[in-house]
């Protein structure tokens, strides 16, 4: 029987980390993720975990300590947001390239500047090509569930990559909602032990980690790393299937939400994290009025589910991709370019596509904002005319 609780998304992250009981947590506080190491340090102080908690002096050090700890043979975890993630930059790439399955709780916050503590996805989107697996979470339940699955995914022998679990700063990190927790023993049994084949503290088989790697072999290592990311998709599905057996909660690469009565929807809106919840709510009352809009929420952003998303979106006349981060490239947000490139690569040329950049710097996204988008895509479906591909939602014109 699950434990019925109520807690914030940050506490949900921390509780999952408590149940995982990693060897090392190295973290530096930054809003809005500060509560994660704060909760966790109380578990350490109260003897509820065996973890070595390293209160580092920066996020660069936090990720460096995690890399060292993971290479030594222990599970290492950290949490951060925005500029903390940016300060980890070079270390993110080194963790991935060194094939160390560190797990990071990313509480999404606007990357400075201008200085802003509120939610958008500019932090984790910047790390989308760092070689980390990225899972996105709509609410505290998904944040907790993704966190419990993260180690299993990253540590799989065919993967060995670090995993970033993302949720929206403040919107879900600080909102207290009901949640179903696994009992500690069930969670521990699910996550299992970390048994790397090679690690630095094994004196029987001494190893060198991170040696100089020139043009003779570096490309082979990069190719192998790319394969690991491709392999991750299958592992994510396997781990998620096992998790479903344990909890009854089903997770795939993405969630396609079709409201009752909108089964033949011709338009679909694609978006990540908490705003998907708002969009589902609006889609429900739109469906009740006979206005049919489907929602597609990617859960796995890296590895990007190219063929699966293209197949799921092929049936729609109009697809609107919403980005809570701008790429400042005059070519749309990151999710837009990934989705449209997936459609093209899979010979899906049917849907008309538009992009909305929304909610930057924590700009509130209300149901009326979502209605604006829905009305726009329904109009395009009706007329077949796209007025503008690249759009901004909720900014004062």
């Amino acid at each position: 029987m699950a434990i019925r609780e109520r807690m914030s998304g940050n506490e949900a992250f921390a509780v999952a980390m408590k149940q995982i009981n990693p060897a090392v947590v190295a973290a530096f506080p930054i809003t809005p993720s500060t509560e994660v190491p704060q909760y966790f340090s109380t578990y350490v102080a109260d003897g509820q975990v065996d973890t070595e908690f390293v209160a580092v002096e920066s996020e660069h050090s936090a990720m460096s300590a995690c890399i060292g700890a993971q290479a030594a043979g222990g599970r290492a975890m950290t949490a951060t947001s925005a500029n903390g993630l940016a300060l980890m930059w070079e270390c993110l790439y080194i963790a991935a390239a060194s094939r160390l399955p560190v797990v990071l709780a990313c509480v999404n916050r606007t990357l400075s500047g201008p200085l802003n503590i509120h939610n958008d996805h500019s932090d984790s989107m910047g790390a989308r090509d760092s070689g980390w697996i990225q899972l996105y979470s709509e609410n505290n339940q998904e944040a907790y569930d993704n966190m419990l699955m993260a180690n299993r995914i990253g540590e799989d022998k065919s993967v060995n990559l670090p995993v970033m679990v993302c949720q929206d700063g403040f919107i879900t990190s600080h909102a207290i909602e009901n949640i179903d927790l696994l009992e500690d023993d069930l969670a521990k049994a699910f996550v299992g032990d970390y048994t790397p084949e090679y690690h630095l503290l094994n004196k029987e088989t001494p190893i060198a980690v991170g040696p100089l790697d020139h043009f003779t072999h570096c490309f082979e290592h990069k190719r192998q790393q790319a394969q690991a990311m491709m392999n991750a998709q299958k592992v994510i599905l396997e781990v998620s299937a096992e998790f479903e057996k344990l909890t009854g909660r089903k997770y795939g690469l993405y969630e396609e939400y079709v409201p009752k009565g909108a089964e033949d929807a011709e338009v679909c809106v694609v978006l990540l994290n908490s705003t998907a919840g708002t969009a589902k709510y609006v889609a429900d009352y739109y469906a009740a009025e006979g206005k049919k809009v489907a929602i597609l929420k990617p859960r796995v952003y890296r590895p990007f589910p190219v063929t699966e998303l293209a197949a799921a979106l092929a049936k729609y006349k109009v697809v609107c991709i919403m980005d809570k981060a701008d790429s400042f490239n005059a070519a749309g947000g990151p999710l837009f370019t990934d989705v449209t490139s997936a459609l093209y690569a899979c010979n899906v040329f049917g849907p008309k596509v538009i992009n909305y950049i929304y909610g930057l710097g924590g700009r509130d996204v209300r149901t009326t904002d979502i209605e604006t988008v829905f009305d726009e895509v329904l109009e395009i479906a009706k007329t077949g005319k796209v007025k503008s591909v690249f759009n901004y939602l909720g900014v004062r014109e």
């Binding site: 290479a71 060194s98 022998k157 060995n160 190893i207 060198a208 570096c218 192998q224 394969q227």
Partner: protein
């Protein structure tokens, strides 16, 4: 990190991406000798056996472990596969038993 799919000792320099170790990890100690650095040399130490007192100062200071010794132990020549021609052995020799000359190939 995980598996070297083959024992590293059997891997050759033309190893493909399937068989190479993950992240460049080297699961085998004492492998530096496989990397020959002799070609880096422009100056070469020349050992004059007659002047050598076998004090082995050259052995202690050589950064590349390129001084061969016998079991006695006595100086027994130079490993030119790894000697980079730094000249530290020449500098430290008190007996003029090591000359340092341009290497002509």
């Amino acid at each position: 990190m995980s598996t070297a799919k083959k024992n590293l000792k059997t891997l050759t320099n033309d190893v493909n991406w399937h068989d190479i170790t993950e992240g460049g990890m080297i699961p085998w100690a004492g492998n530096a000798e496989m990397y020959e650095t002799g070609s880096w040399r422009s100056m070469i130490p020349v050992w004059n056996k007659e002047k050598c007192k076998n004090c082995l100062m050259c052995f202690y200071v050589c950064p590349d472990s390129s001084i061969y010794t016998t079991d006695e132990p006595r100086m027994n020549g130079i490993d030119f596969g790894h000697c980079k021609g730094c000249g530290v052995c020449v500098k430290c020799c008190k007996f003029g038993a090591l000359d340092f000359v341009e290497e002509h190939k």
